[in-house]
């Protein structure tokens, strides 16, 4: 069975919040995963700490991730779903061609 690193949706209507989870590929989205390795909040939060009037600060999105576990699971053959690939690419540069064997993680 394929292991997949994917997002599991939490939160209410119009308030999505995702756990980044390692789960069996064919298990349901809401079922209990093997492991939760992080979270992703797709709702952008406006920055309140910047008082610089000249440059409009970008709103930010929060990601938490256990890099060590992510590396490990990729190393043992877990496949990341597309949205998770994008997140992993932000966190550390992952090469999609050889990322699956664990060597593609550059960060």
């Amino acid at each position: 069975m394929v292991l997949r690193i994917r997002l599991a949706r939490f939160g209410n209507k119009h308030q999505p919040f995702y756990n980044i989870v390692v789960a069996q590929a064919r298990s349901a989205r809401g079922s209990k995963p093997l492991e939760v390795i992080g979270t992703y909040n797709p709702l952008p939060a406006a920055r309140t700490d910047v008082s610089d009037a000249t440059s409009a600060p970008r709103a930010f999105k929060d990601i938490t991730l256990d890099k060590v576990r992510a590396k490990y699971w990729l190393g043992v053959g877990a496949q990341a779903s597309d949205p998770v690939w994008k997140l992993l690419n932000l966190v550390g540069r992952v090469d999609a061609t050889n990322g699956l064997d664990g060597t593609g993680w550059m960060a």
Binding site: F17, T39, P44, K61, L90
Partner: protein, 377 residues
Amino acid sequence: MAPRIQSRSVSNLLPYITSSSSITSSSIPSLCSSSQSSRYFSTTPAPQTKLRRQMFEWLSTQGSGLKHHTPGETNYLRMADGSQSNRPFPNNMTFISEPVLSEELRNEVYFRVKEQKKSPRAVSVELGIDMNRIAAVVRLVELERRQRDKGKPLALPYARAVHEMVPTTPLAQAGERQPYHEPINDLPVHPLTGAQIFYPVPESRPFTRVDAGRVFSGAPKLEKKVSDKITHPSDLVDDLVQKPGSIEWVGKGDNARQVLQPADVRIPHPQLVQLARDRAAFPEERRTVTQRHTERLERQEKAEKERAARAAERRNRNTETIDPKDSRFSFRIKDAVVSEETVGKNGRAPWAPGRRYGVPTNDRTRGTVKIPTRVNV
């Protein structure tokens, strides 16, 4: 709807009514007759007509002066002796129209905090404005500048009109003394002090505000050698400002609370108490006293800044911000560590990263209080 019986016909229909009520019935036509001149067809006694007449009388005589206001002055009803009053509603004596900050004064607040880099605490004392208001002014002026930069319209005519009509605190000219806008050193009421406690103390034992705070919070009394060192409650200020974490805790779990500090510590500007005490103790050495006060302020500010910097550094230590070129957003990446400490032995500790599984979110349950119910002062 049944036809209404007019008051006059009632008195005609009931000839047997008692003498006392016949007096009242006889007084009704007299009332009516007074208003009959203006309302020929009405038989209803209308006592408000008199008030109405008086109102128009007032509007044409004394009230006519209030029809147009003088810009820069309040246009409230005057007192009986003709002096200006700050109570616009004579029947509501508890409503007092408090002054607002004038345009120059609020700009001066922003200038001192942002351009001269003074601390809000110092500016608050200089201008006699509450520290919370200082913070609010800085935020709002900042917001206004941002609106201007974006070219967005401001409701300036509205602001001007309001400022013309309400009392304002002006900014003092050079050489003048700045009038205080409001009391700045008010002691917030702490819920712990609401209790009435009977606490017998031997006469021979000194019992100070420090001890009272400990009694209120249910803490054991101070050891003698500790309490002997405190000559005045405001001696504690310096240490507590440097290390706010050093305040003692009592109680367990949800009931844990910090020991209530004496009022000398909890007021917004505790250093003013120390200044006043110094002035009273050394009335001749004005310069030295002022210098000591300045040094104390500087020390406090330095400690506060260091603390804020440490907190920010702690926050940022595990956080990395990434601004991708092709994205409208930046991403804050925090390092989560899945270990026994962070997720618990079974991996399901409440403080583990991520939302939890198998735990219903009770945020929609009836009766759930979602707003904070306690504030730790």
